[in-house]
């Protein structure tokens, strides 16, 4: 990051200090990440084998505090292992989109002319595809897995990152220090990688946190529709889809993963919005 982005402006300092909502959101994400990383070593039942009778209600058995699902598998274990998949897909796809989009955006801003138009058409074409439908279409022809999901979700969300990076790079291109670098004979590579790209890191990264929330929702939707990570691998969307048949007799099977999903998305959104507001007040107001 370059200095102008990390030095908080007066406006940023005047903003509220992190409130309890931000702390809670951050804590939830940290907890989730730790659980997901430690899913293999934690003393959890296997996610894909029955541990007891079907549809055990929560808080009736130890260690299965969240009960069991329709075929007697541990809801707690499936939730934790599901978090692993959700986070892996979401973070993987977001990183891919952020890096690819960021580079494309900066290139478009730097090269202008034909390259800019070509990149614009490409991005618009991706945007013209309704994301869910394209993912469904892909699922029809390609066997889904973590990598195909990461790749397709990642590609689909390149355009918003590219636009963001392009705007950030354009606003920097006109600044004196870029002119100065150019006047000093800096080459294309140096201008791109040392002067322009660093300025795009903060806006792209803060936006990525918000996009991670969207990716979790997309992955959930695909798994819910049965075209995401194939069973028996646990995934929150699939848990909700499977649980909905038991909604009348065992609503917790749906409500528990729903709550996990909601909290995670909300936490990403809360942290992301906050970061974006921060980046805006710091680097915003630039002419």
């Amino acid at each position: 990051m370059t200095a102008p982005l990390t030095v908080p402006g007066a406006a940023a300092r005047r903003r509220r200090r992190p409130g309890p909502a931000l702390w809670l959101a951050g804590s939830w994400l940290v907890l989730l990440a730790l659980l997901a990383l430690g899913a293999g070593v934690l003393p959890l039942a296997a996610p894909d084998a029955p541990v007891g009778g079907p549809n055990l209600p929560p808080f009736t058995a130890y260690p299965e505090v969240l009960g069991t699902d329709g075929i007697g598998r541990s809801v707690l274990s499936r939730l934790v292992h599901g978090a692993r998949i959700s986070l892996a897909v979401s973070l993987g796809a977001t990183s891919l989109a952020a890096v690819a989009g960021g580079l494309l955006g900066v290139l478009a801003a730097y090269l202008r002319g034909v390259a800019e138009s070509a990149i614009g058409v490409l991005l618009d074409a991706i945007l013209a595809f309704p994301p869910l439908l394209l993912l469904l279409a892909l699922a029809a022809v390609v066997r889904p897995g973590v990598w195909t999901l990461v790749a397709s979700l990642g590609l689909l969300f390149v355009p918003p990152f590219a636009r963001l990076a392009k705007a950030a790079a354009l606003s920097r291109l006109n600044r004196e220090y870029v002119d100065a670098a150019r006047a000093l004979g800096a080459g294309h590579g140096r201008l791109l990688f040392r002067e322009l790209l660093p300025g795009c890191v903060a806006p792209v990264a803060s936006y990525a946190v918000v996009m991670a929330a969207l990716m979790i929702m997309m992955e959930g939707a695909l798994s819910f529709l049965g075209v995401g990570i194939p069973p028996p691998a646990p995934s929150w969307g699939a848990m909700i889809a499977a649980g909905k048949d038991f909604l009348a007799i065992a609503p917790q099977l749906v409500l528990v993963p729903c709550a996990a999903m909601f909290l995670t998305v909300l936490s990403f959104n809360t942290v992301g919005e906050r970061l974006r507001a921060r980046v805006d007040t710091i680097s915003g107001g630039a002419p």
Binding site: D124, A125, P130, A137, L247
Partner: protein, 326 residues
């Protein structure tokens, strides 16, 4: 978009329109190419995928020939685009019926719940947006802002199952799933359409609300609002005549974009509520590898999506008095 949004002088505007049209054509070309390429993404032959492993080579050859899966890409693409232009999207592998007819008969369901969802969103967002925008920082504003952050974080399938649990299973007010066409009477139809539409509206309302709130708050700081206030016009009149009006265009734009998104995004809700719409069709076609139907869906929805955005763009230029005759 790559075409800049620089304020256009009259002459530059024509050039801008032409560039924009060329841009749209390029996008459509890429979209159709990608849809046609779906066939080539199927591992092995699509016919094998459709017929299953027990199919005889002769059956496979017959299917390949009937649907042209074995022809080279350029030939297949041109043929398909030619059909597209004349409204012939081929035939469904599953039913053998024309793809276009199959899609058109499912369209009204999706159209209806998408429209209904936009309507519900606007019904909630407009009064709340105007109110909170005119009292930024007030108690209701803070409550609504918090609530809209929460609503935005609810995935549509979560909203759907929770609604089913609360309003269908627990209270029995609405049916759990199913559909009654409009021909069964508007009441029966709305009875089935309401929950799916609300589930869709949950995630979209905050976007409209935030847009309007920000717009209203910004407009209220304008001099002309202060002028109107010094003229002794009632607050309510100022809010609706002078403040809401300038915000109407961005709001309509956003509503149109939301509508386009819902057209494509209703798959989840249609699956959850077992609705006979486009999403349901897509879901049926995927395991059956009904590639012509999937291609048709992708292209039609993409075209609709592009068309909505282009219309909005056009509408903006035509409707905004500031850009109209400048």
């Amino acid at each position: 978009m790559a075409v800049g949004t620089l304020a256009a002088a009259p002459r530059a505007r024509l050039g801008r329109a032409a560039r924009r049209a060329a841009h749209l054509l390029a996008v459509l070309l890429l979209v159709t190419l990608a849809a046609a390429a779906l066939v080539d993404l199927v591992p092995g032959s699509p016919a094998v995928a459709i017929l299953g492993p027990s199919a005889t080579p002769q059956q496979i050859a017959e299917l390949d020939a009937a649907y042209g899966f074995d022809r080279p890409f350029p030939e297949r693409y041109l043929d398909w685009v030619g059909g597209l232009v004349t409204g012939d999207l081929g035939r469904s592998v599953q039913s053998g019926r024309p793809v276009l007819a199959t899609i058109l008969e499912r369209l009204p369901v999706t159209l209806e719940i998408a429209l209904l969802a936009v309507g519900i969103s606007l019904l909630v967002a407009v009064p709340l947006g105007v109110h909170t925008g005119s009292r930024v920082g007030g108690p209701l504003d803070r409550a609504v802002t918090a609530a809209s952050s929460a609503l935005m974080s609810i995935p549509v399938f979560v909203a759907g199952v929770v609604l089913i649990y609360l309003l269908a299973l627990t209270t029995g007010w609405f049916p759990v799933s199913g559909w009654a066409p409009l021909t069964d009477g508007i009441a029966a139809n709305l009875h089935f359409a309401f929950l799916p539409a609300v589930a869709l509206a949950v995630g979209e309302t905050p976007a409209l609300l935030r847009l309007l709130r920000g717009d209203v708050a910004a407009t209220l700081r304008e001099d002309f609002v202060r002028t109107a206030a010094t003229r002794g016009l009632p607050r309510r009149y100022i809010l609706f005549r002078h403040v809401l009006r300038p915000s109407a265009l961005p709001l309509v734009t956003m509503a149109a974009v939301v509508f386009g998104r819902l057209l494509a995004g209703s798959v989840v809700v249609e699956s959850l509520f077992a609705l006979p719409g486009l999403g349901g069709l897509a879901l049926q076609s995927i395991p059956a590898k009904d590639i012509p139907v999937i291609q048709g869906l992708v292209v039609l929805v993409a075209v609709a999506y592009v068309a909505v955005n282009a219309l909005v763009d056009l509408g903006y230029t035509v409707l905004d008095p500031r850009t109209r005759s400048r």
